[in-house]
Protein backbone atom coordinates (compact mmCIF):
# COMPACT_ATOMS: atom_id res chain seq x y z
CA UNK A 1 0.00 0.00 0.00
CA UNK A 2 2.79 2.40 0.92
CA UNK A 3 4.37 2.16 -2.50
CA UNK A 4 1.02 3.07 -4.04
CA UNK A 5 0.62 6.02 -1.71
CA UNK A 6 4.09 7.25 -2.66
CA UNK A 7 3.00 6.90 -6.30
CA UNK A 8 -0.14 8.99 -5.79
CA UNK A 9 1.84 11.69 -4.04
CA UNK A 10 4.12 12.12 -7.01
CA UNK A 11 1.24 12.27 -9.52
CA UNK A 12 -0.13 15.57 -10.73
CA UNK A 13 -3.87 16.28 -10.40
CA UNK A 14 -4.25 15.69 -14.12
CA UNK A 15 -2.43 12.35 -13.94
CA UNK A 16 -4.51 11.30 -10.95
CA UNK A 17 -7.77 12.15 -12.68
CA UNK A 18 -6.77 10.17 -15.78
CA UNK A 19 -5.64 7.25 -13.62
CA UNK A 20 -8.93 7.21 -11.67
CA UNK A 21 -11.01 7.36 -14.85
CA UNK A 22 -9.11 4.55 -16.53
CA UNK A 23 -8.31 2.23 -13.64
CA UNK A 24 -11.36 2.71 -11.45
CA UNK A 25 -14.40 4.39 -12.99
CA UNK A 26 -14.37 2.47 -16.25
CA UNK A 27 -13.69 -0.85 -14.56
CA UNK A 28 -16.28 -0.27 -11.83
CA UNK A 29 -18.94 0.56 -14.44
CA UNK A 30 -18.09 -2.64 -16.32
CA UNK A 31 -18.15 -4.69 -13.12
CA UNK A 32 -21.56 -3.28 -12.18
CA UNK A 33 -22.85 -4.36 -15.60
CA UNK A 34 -21.46 -7.86 -15.10
CA UNK A 35 -22.86 -8.11 -11.56
CA UNK A 36 -26.32 -7.02 -12.70
CA UNK A 37 -26.28 -9.53 -15.55
CA UNK A 38 -25.38 -12.35 -13.16
CA UNK A 39 -27.90 -11.23 -10.54
CA UNK A 40 -30.59 -11.05 -13.21
CA UNK A 41 -29.72 -14.57 -14.31
CA UNK A 42 -29.82 -15.84 -10.73
CA UNK A 43 -33.31 -14.38 -10.30
CA UNK A 44 -34.45 -16.60 -13.16
CA UNK A 45 -32.52 -19.70 -12.12
CA UNK A 46 -33.21 -19.70 -8.40
CA UNK A 47 -36.50 -19.75 -6.62
CA UNK A 48 -37.03 -16.02 -6.55
CA UNK A 49 -37.61 -14.51 -3.15
CA UNK A 50 -38.12 -10.97 -1.91
CA UNK A 51 -34.58 -10.69 -0.62
CA UNK A 52 -33.02 -11.54 -3.99
CA UNK A 53 -35.21 -8.93 -5.65
CA UNK A 54 -34.24 -6.39 -3.01
CA UNK A 55 -30.54 -7.07 -3.67
CA UNK A 56 -31.07 -6.69 -7.41
CA UNK A 57 -32.96 -3.41 -6.88
CA UNK A 58 -30.29 -2.03 -4.55
CA UNK A 59 -27.44 -2.94 -6.93
CA UNK A 60 -29.33 -1.35 -9.83
CA UNK A 61 -29.77 1.80 -7.77
CA UNK A 62 -26.10 1.84 -6.71
CA UNK A 63 -25.03 1.35 -10.32
CA UNK A 64 -27.15 4.31 -11.48
CA UNK A 65 -25.90 6.43 -8.59
CA UNK A 66 -22.25 5.60 -9.29
CA UNK A 67 -22.65 6.15 -13.05
CA UNK A 68 -24.03 9.64 -12.49
CA UNK A 69 -21.44 10.42 -9.81
CA UNK A 70 -18.50 9.26 -11.94
CA UNK A 71 -19.95 11.12 -14.94
CA UNK A 72 -20.03 14.35 -12.94
CA UNK A 73 -16.43 13.88 -11.85
CA UNK A 74 -15.18 13.00 -15.34
CA UNK A 75 -17.20 15.58 -17.22
CA UNK A 76 -17.36 18.49 -14.80
CA UNK A 77 -14.48 18.24 -12.33
CA UNK A 78 -11.53 16.43 -13.87
CA UNK A 79 -11.24 18.67 -16.96
CA UNK A 80 -10.65 21.59 -14.63
CA UNK A 81 -7.18 20.18 -13.96
CA UNK A 82 -6.46 19.10 -17.53
CA UNK A 83 -3.94 21.90 -17.85
CA UNK A 84 -2.27 21.72 -14.51
CA UNK A 85 -1.11 24.95 -13.08
CA UNK A 86 -3.25 27.12 -15.33
CA UNK A 87 -5.98 29.18 -13.79
CA UNK A 88 -9.45 28.51 -15.12
CA UNK A 89 -10.62 30.86 -17.79
CA UNK A 90 -14.18 32.14 -17.38
CA UNK A 91 -14.46 29.52 -14.71
CA UNK A 92 -16.47 28.73 -11.66
CA UNK A 93 -15.58 30.66 -8.53
CA UNK A 94 -13.61 29.06 -5.71
CA UNK A 95 -16.79 28.87 -3.66
CA UNK A 96 -18.65 27.11 -6.48
CA UNK A 97 -15.86 24.56 -6.96
CA UNK A 98 -15.61 23.94 -3.23
CA UNK A 99 -19.37 23.46 -2.96
CA UNK A 100 -19.27 21.05 -5.86
CA UNK A 101 -16.44 19.05 -4.26
CA UNK A 102 -18.41 18.99 -0.97
CA UNK A 103 -21.40 17.59 -2.87
CA UNK A 104 -19.19 14.89 -4.38
CA UNK A 105 -17.93 13.99 -0.91
CA UNK A 106 -21.51 13.67 0.30
CA UNK A 107 -22.16 11.34 -2.61
CA UNK A 108 -19.14 9.27 -1.53
CA UNK A 109 -20.70 8.97 1.89
CA UNK A 110 -24.04 7.95 0.35
CA UNK A 111 -22.25 5.31 -1.73
CA UNK A 112 -20.66 3.96 1.46
CA UNK A 113 -24.07 3.78 3.13
CA UNK A 114 -25.47 1.96 0.11
CA UNK A 115 -22.73 -0.66 0.23
CA UNK A 116 -23.25 -1.11 3.98
CA UNK A 117 -26.88 -1.94 3.23
CA UNK A 118 -25.77 -4.28 0.49
CA UNK A 119 -23.39 -6.07 2.87
CA UNK A 120 -26.22 -6.51 5.34
CA UNK A 121 -28.59 -7.85 2.68
CA UNK A 122 -25.99 -10.22 1.20
CA UNK A 123 -24.56 -11.43 4.53
CA UNK A 124 -21.20 -9.84 3.63
CA UNK A 125 -21.38 -11.28 0.11
CA UNK A 126 -21.64 -14.84 1.45
CA UNK A 127 -23.88 -17.20 -0.48
CA UNK A 128 -25.53 -20.41 0.66
CA UNK A 129 -23.86 -23.49 -0.74
CA UNK A 130 -27.04 -24.13 -2.70
CA UNK A 131 -26.86 -20.72 -4.43
CA UNK A 132 -26.58 -20.69 -8.21
CA UNK A 133 -23.18 -20.05 -9.82
CA UNK A 134 -24.60 -16.80 -11.19
CA UNK A 135 -25.31 -15.53 -7.70
CA UNK A 136 -21.86 -16.56 -6.45
CA UNK A 137 -20.25 -14.81 -9.38
CA UNK A 138 -22.39 -11.71 -8.82
CA UNK A 139 -21.43 -11.53 -5.14
CA UNK A 140 -17.78 -11.83 -6.15
CA UNK A 141 -18.19 -8.88 -8.52
CA UNK A 142 -19.96 -6.85 -5.83
CA UNK A 143 -17.21 -7.47 -3.31
CA UNK A 144 -14.66 -6.33 -5.89
CA UNK A 145 -16.72 -3.25 -6.76
CA UNK A 146 -16.92 -2.22 -3.13
CA UNK A 147 -13.16 -2.54 -2.65
CA UNK A 148 -12.49 -0.56 -5.83
CA UNK A 149 -14.94 2.16 -4.88
CA UNK A 150 -13.35 2.48 -1.44
CA UNK A 151 -9.92 2.90 -3.01
CA UNK A 152 -11.27 5.33 -5.61
CA UNK A 153 -12.83 7.47 -2.88
CA UNK A 154 -9.66 7.33 -0.79
CA UNK A 155 -7.49 8.58 -3.66
CA UNK A 156 -9.97 11.31 -4.57
CA UNK A 157 -10.48 12.64 -1.08
CA UNK A 158 -6.90 12.32 0.12
CA UNK A 159 -4.99 13.32 -3.01
CA UNK A 160 -7.08 14.64 -5.88
CA UNK A 161 -9.64 16.97 -4.30
CA UNK A 162 -7.10 18.87 -2.15
CA UNK A 163 -4.97 19.39 -5.25
CA UNK A 164 -7.86 20.62 -7.34
CA UNK A 165 -8.81 23.14 -4.67
CA UNK A 166 -5.17 24.19 -4.27
CA UNK A 167 -4.75 24.82 -8.01
CA UNK A 168 -7.86 26.92 -7.93
Amino acid sequence: MEQYIAGYESMTAHELSRYLTKEFHTKIRQAFGAALTQLGASLHIEKVNGEAKAIYGLVKGLCAFFTEHAGKEERLLFPLVADTGQSYKASATTYETESFVDDLKEEHYALGEGFMNLRRLTNNYNCNTSASPSRKLAFGHLNGIEQNIKQDIFIEEEYLFPRILRIK
Binding site: E68, K72, R75, L76, K89, S91, F100
Partner: protein, 271 residues
Protein backbone atom coordinates in the same frame (compact mmCIF):
# COMPACT_ATOMS: atom_id res chain seq x y z
CA UNK B 1 -44.69 34.78 -11.25
CA UNK B 2 -44.56 37.21 -14.16
CA UNK B 3 -47.53 37.04 -16.56
CA UNK B 4 -47.62 34.39 -19.28
CA UNK B 5 -48.42 35.24 -22.87
CA UNK B 6 -50.40 32.90 -25.08
CA UNK B 7 -49.93 33.68 -28.77
CA UNK B 8 -52.86 32.30 -30.70
CA UNK B 9 -54.09 32.07 -34.27
CA UNK B 10 -57.32 30.30 -33.14
CA UNK B 11 -56.34 27.08 -34.92
CA UNK B 12 -57.12 23.73 -33.30
CA UNK B 13 -53.50 23.43 -32.14
CA UNK B 14 -53.56 26.99 -30.76
CA UNK B 15 -56.80 26.37 -28.85
CA UNK B 16 -55.21 23.28 -27.34
CA UNK B 17 -52.13 25.35 -26.42
CA UNK B 18 -54.55 27.87 -24.90
CA UNK B 19 -56.01 25.23 -22.61
CA UNK B 20 -52.48 24.16 -21.71
CA UNK B 21 -51.40 27.76 -21.03
CA UNK B 22 -54.44 28.53 -18.88
CA UNK B 23 -53.93 25.40 -16.82
CA UNK B 24 -50.24 26.21 -16.36
CA UNK B 25 -50.96 29.85 -15.47
CA UNK B 26 -53.49 28.69 -12.90
CA UNK B 27 -50.98 26.23 -11.36
CA UNK B 28 -48.32 28.95 -11.19
CA UNK B 29 -50.70 31.69 -10.03
CA UNK B 30 -49.88 33.84 -13.06
CA UNK B 31 -51.97 36.11 -15.18
CA UNK B 32 -52.48 34.92 -18.76
CA UNK B 33 -52.37 37.43 -21.58
CA UNK B 34 -54.06 36.11 -24.70
CA UNK B 35 -52.47 37.69 -27.73
CA UNK B 36 -53.30 37.65 -31.42
CA UNK B 37 -51.35 39.38 -34.17
CA UNK B 38 -53.17 40.02 -37.41
CA UNK B 39 -52.03 41.36 -40.75
CA UNK B 40 -54.28 43.96 -42.41
CA UNK B 41 -55.10 43.04 -45.98
CA UNK B 42 -53.93 45.72 -48.35
CA UNK B 43 -56.48 46.35 -51.09
CA UNK B 44 -55.44 46.79 -54.68
CA UNK B 45 -55.37 50.51 -55.69
CA UNK B 46 -58.39 50.23 -57.95
CA UNK B 47 -60.56 48.48 -55.41
CA UNK B 48 -61.95 49.71 -52.15
CA UNK B 49 -61.62 47.62 -48.98
CA UNK B 50 -64.52 45.30 -48.44
CA UNK B 51 -64.32 45.70 -44.67
CA UNK B 52 -63.10 48.98 -43.19
CA UNK B 53 -59.94 48.66 -41.09
CA UNK B 54 -61.73 49.80 -37.93
CA UNK B 55 -64.23 47.01 -38.35
CA UNK B 56 -61.44 44.50 -38.87
CA UNK B 57 -59.80 45.72 -35.71
CA UNK B 58 -63.10 45.43 -33.80
CA UNK B 59 -63.64 41.90 -35.08
CA UNK B 60 -60.10 40.93 -34.10
CA UNK B 61 -60.58 42.47 -30.65
CA UNK B 62 -63.82 40.60 -30.10
CA UNK B 63 -62.24 37.32 -31.18
CA UNK B 64 -59.27 37.59 -28.85
CA UNK B 65 -61.49 38.72 -25.97
CA UNK B 66 -63.77 35.75 -26.56
CA UNK B 67 -60.80 33.38 -26.36
CA UNK B 68 -59.54 35.06 -23.18
CA UNK B 69 -63.02 34.83 -21.64
CA UNK B 70 -63.32 31.15 -22.58
CA UNK B 71 -60.02 30.32 -20.91
CA UNK B 72 -60.77 32.44 -17.85
CA UNK B 73 -64.11 30.71 -17.35
CA UNK B 74 -62.84 27.19 -18.00
CA UNK B 75 -59.70 27.38 -15.87
CA UNK B 76 -60.48 30.06 -13.28
CA UNK B 77 -57.45 32.08 -14.29
CA UNK B 78 -56.97 35.84 -14.65
CA UNK B 79 -56.79 36.66 -18.36
CA UNK B 80 -56.33 39.77 -20.46
CA UNK B 81 -56.76 40.09 -24.22
CA UNK B 82 -54.45 42.01 -26.55
CA UNK B 83 -54.54 42.17 -30.33
CA UNK B 84 -52.08 43.95 -32.53
CA UNK B 85 -51.72 44.37 -36.26
CA UNK B 86 -48.35 43.37 -37.67
CA UNK B 87 -46.13 40.36 -38.08
CA UNK B 88 -46.58 37.84 -35.28
CA UNK B 89 -42.89 37.39 -34.43
CA UNK B 90 -42.24 41.12 -34.14
CA UNK B 91 -45.45 41.98 -32.32
CA UNK B 92 -45.02 39.21 -29.76
CA UNK B 93 -41.63 40.61 -28.83
CA UNK B 94 -43.03 44.15 -28.48
CA UNK B 95 -45.87 43.01 -26.23
CA UNK B 96 -43.51 40.89 -24.13
CA UNK B 97 -41.32 43.88 -23.47
CA UNK B 98 -44.27 46.16 -22.68
CA UNK B 99 -45.97 43.69 -20.36
CA UNK B 100 -42.88 42.17 -18.71
CA UNK B 101 -43.80 38.67 -19.82
CA UNK B 102 -42.22 35.71 -18.03
CA UNK B 103 -43.14 32.98 -20.51
CA UNK B 104 -44.57 32.81 -24.02
CA UNK B 105 -46.71 29.81 -24.89
CA UNK B 106 -47.18 28.79 -28.51
CA UNK B 107 -48.55 25.79 -30.38
CA UNK B 108 -46.49 23.68 -32.75
CA UNK B 109 -47.87 21.40 -35.40
CA UNK B 110 -45.92 18.36 -36.54
CA UNK B 111 -48.16 17.84 -39.52
CA UNK B 112 -47.48 21.17 -41.12
CA UNK B 113 -44.95 20.16 -43.76
CA UNK B 114 -44.64 23.69 -45.14
CA UNK B 115 -43.82 25.07 -41.71
CA UNK B 116 -41.36 22.26 -41.23
CA UNK B 117 -39.50 23.32 -44.34
CA UNK B 118 -39.72 27.08 -44.12
CA UNK B 119 -40.20 27.41 -40.38
CA UNK B 120 -43.31 28.34 -38.44
CA UNK B 121 -43.74 31.44 -36.28
CA UNK B 122 -42.77 29.36 -33.25
CA UNK B 123 -39.59 27.89 -34.68
CA UNK B 124 -38.51 31.09 -36.40
CA UNK B 125 -38.72 32.83 -33.04
CA UNK B 126 -36.58 30.23 -31.31
CA UNK B 127 -33.27 31.79 -32.22
CA UNK B 128 -34.01 35.46 -31.95
CA UNK B 129 -36.22 35.68 -28.95
CA UNK B 130 -35.24 37.24 -25.65
CA UNK B 131 -38.05 35.62 -23.66
CA UNK B 132 -38.57 32.04 -22.50
CA UNK B 133 -40.95 30.20 -24.78
CA UNK B 134 -42.91 26.99 -24.28
CA UNK B 135 -43.83 25.17 -27.48
CA UNK B 136 -46.85 22.94 -27.01
CA UNK B 137 -47.29 20.21 -29.62
CA UNK B 138 -50.82 19.76 -30.85
CA UNK B 139 -52.88 17.17 -28.98
CA UNK B 140 -50.71 17.44 -25.84
CA UNK B 141 -52.88 18.16 -22.84
CA UNK B 142 -51.64 19.74 -19.64
CA UNK B 143 -50.28 17.48 -16.95
CA UNK B 144 -48.03 18.75 -14.18
CA UNK B 145 -44.58 17.35 -15.04
CA UNK B 146 -42.77 15.28 -12.42
CA UNK B 147 -39.50 15.57 -14.31
CA UNK B 148 -38.14 18.06 -16.82
CA UNK B 149 -35.19 17.12 -19.01
CA UNK B 150 -32.78 20.03 -19.45
CA UNK B 151 -30.54 19.45 -22.47
CA UNK B 152 -27.30 21.41 -22.47
CA UNK B 153 -23.94 21.33 -24.25
CA UNK B 154 -22.48 23.34 -21.33
CA UNK B 155 -21.53 26.17 -23.66
CA UNK B 156 -22.41 28.93 -21.28
CA UNK B 157 -19.99 31.53 -20.12
CA UNK B 158 -22.42 33.33 -17.87
CA UNK B 159 -24.22 32.68 -14.63
CA UNK B 160 -27.02 30.55 -16.12
CA UNK B 161 -29.55 33.34 -15.56
CA UNK B 162 -31.56 31.84 -18.42
CA UNK B 163 -32.60 29.08 -16.05
CA UNK B 164 -34.40 31.49 -13.69
CA UNK B 165 -37.75 30.83 -15.36
CA UNK B 166 -37.23 27.08 -15.23
CA UNK B 167 -36.37 27.32 -11.53
CA UNK B 168 -39.39 29.49 -10.81
CA UNK B 169 -41.74 27.03 -12.52
CA UNK B 170 -39.98 24.08 -10.82
CA UNK B 171 -40.68 25.64 -7.43
CA UNK B 172 -44.36 26.15 -8.32
CA UNK B 173 -44.94 22.72 -9.87
CA UNK B 174 -42.43 20.89 -7.69
CA UNK B 175 -40.72 18.90 -10.44
CA UNK B 176 -37.16 17.63 -10.53
CA UNK B 177 -34.70 18.61 -13.25
CA UNK B 178 -32.75 15.97 -15.16
CA UNK B 179 -29.77 17.52 -16.90
CA UNK B 180 -28.56 15.77 -20.04
CA UNK B 181 -25.18 16.47 -21.58
CA UNK B 182 -24.76 14.25 -24.63
CA UNK B 183 -21.16 13.15 -24.97
CA UNK B 184 -19.46 12.38 -28.24
CA UNK B 185 -17.15 9.37 -27.86
CA UNK B 186 -14.13 11.25 -29.19
CA UNK B 187 -14.99 14.49 -27.49
CA UNK B 188 -12.84 15.61 -24.58
CA UNK B 189 -14.49 17.95 -22.10
CA UNK B 190 -12.76 21.30 -21.85
CA UNK B 191 -12.18 23.61 -18.93
CA UNK B 192 -14.90 26.00 -20.12
CA UNK B 193 -17.53 23.28 -20.25
CA UNK B 194 -16.52 21.89 -16.88
CA UNK B 195 -16.67 25.32 -15.29
CA UNK B 196 -20.09 25.85 -16.79
CA UNK B 197 -21.15 22.50 -15.36
CA UNK B 198 -19.90 23.38 -11.88
CA UNK B 199 -21.72 26.71 -12.05
CA UNK B 200 -24.86 24.92 -13.22
CA UNK B 201 -24.61 22.58 -10.23
CA UNK B 202 -24.56 25.59 -7.95
CA UNK B 203 -27.35 27.34 -9.84
CA UNK B 204 -29.66 24.37 -9.28
CA UNK B 205 -28.51 23.74 -5.72
CA UNK B 206 -31.93 24.17 -4.09
CA UNK B 207 -33.80 22.26 -6.84
CA UNK B 208 -33.80 18.46 -6.95
CA UNK B 209 -31.72 17.56 -9.97
CA UNK B 210 -29.70 14.76 -11.50
CA UNK B 211 -27.29 14.31 -14.43
CA UNK B 212 -27.17 12.06 -17.49
CA UNK B 213 -24.14 11.75 -19.79
CA UNK B 214 -25.17 9.46 -22.64
CA UNK B 215 -22.61 8.74 -25.35
CA UNK B 216 -24.25 9.34 -28.72
CA UNK B 217 -23.34 11.00 -32.01
CA UNK B 218 -26.95 11.95 -32.61
CA UNK B 219 -27.92 14.55 -30.01
CA UNK B 220 -31.68 14.76 -30.74
CA UNK B 221 -31.86 10.97 -30.61
CA UNK B 222 -30.11 10.85 -27.23
CA UNK B 223 -32.34 13.59 -25.83
CA UNK B 224 -35.56 11.95 -27.01
CA UNK B 225 -34.44 8.50 -25.86
CA UNK B 226 -33.52 9.80 -22.39
CA UNK B 227 -36.77 11.77 -22.13
CA UNK B 228 -38.68 8.58 -22.92
CA UNK B 229 -36.65 6.43 -20.52
CA UNK B 230 -37.01 8.70 -17.51
CA UNK B 231 -40.58 9.74 -18.35
CA UNK B 232 -39.82 13.46 -18.67
CA UNK B 233 -42.92 15.63 -18.92
CA UNK B 234 -41.15 18.49 -20.71
CA UNK B 235 -37.85 19.09 -22.45
CA UNK B 236 -35.97 22.34 -21.79
CA UNK B 237 -33.15 23.75 -23.92
CA UNK B 238 -31.05 26.86 -24.32
CA UNK B 239 -31.07 27.62 -28.07
CA UNK B 240 -27.87 29.06 -29.47
CA UNK B 241 -28.15 32.24 -31.44
CA UNK B 242 -26.22 31.45 -34.59
CA UNK B 243 -25.25 33.96 -37.26
CA UNK B 244 -27.45 33.44 -40.31
CA UNK B 245 -24.62 32.01 -42.44
CA UNK B 246 -23.86 29.37 -39.82
CA UNK B 247 -27.50 28.28 -39.88
CA UNK B 248 -26.83 27.08 -43.43
CA UNK B 249 -24.36 24.50 -42.16
CA UNK B 250 -25.37 23.79 -38.58
CA UNK B 251 -28.78 22.35 -38.01
CA UNK B 252 -30.29 23.76 -34.86
CA UNK B 253 -30.82 20.98 -32.31
CA UNK B 254 -33.65 22.93 -30.69
CA UNK B 255 -35.43 23.32 -34.02
CA UNK B 256 -34.96 19.66 -34.84
CA UNK B 257 -36.43 18.69 -31.50
CA UNK B 258 -39.30 21.15 -31.83
CA UNK B 259 -40.46 19.33 -34.95
CA UNK B 260 -40.26 15.80 -33.65
CA UNK B 261 -40.89 15.79 -29.92
CA UNK B 262 -44.31 15.04 -28.56
CA UNK B 263 -43.43 16.75 -25.30
CA UNK B 264 -43.72 20.45 -24.54
CA UNK B 265 -40.40 22.12 -25.34
CA UNK B 266 -39.22 24.98 -23.15
CA UNK B 267 -36.73 27.23 -24.95
CA UNK B 268 -34.71 29.42 -22.59
CA UNK B 269 -32.84 32.15 -24.47
CA UNK B 270 -29.63 33.43 -22.91
CA UNK B 271 -30.05 36.91 -24.33
Amino acid sequence: MKPFLLATDYSEAARNAGDFAAHLAQSCGSELIVFHAWTPTLPAPETSPIVPLDDVRRIQKEAVEAEAARLSKAFQVRTRAIEQSGFAGDEIEVVCEEEGIGLIILATSHHNVVARFFGSVATSMLHKLKFPMLLVPEFVTFKEPQKVLLATDLHDSGDWHELDTLKAIARQLNFSIHIINVVNEKQVAGVEESSAGVRLENKLREIEHTWHFPVDEDIPHAVLETAERIGAGWIAMVPHQLPWYKELFHKSITKQLAFVTHRPLLALPNA
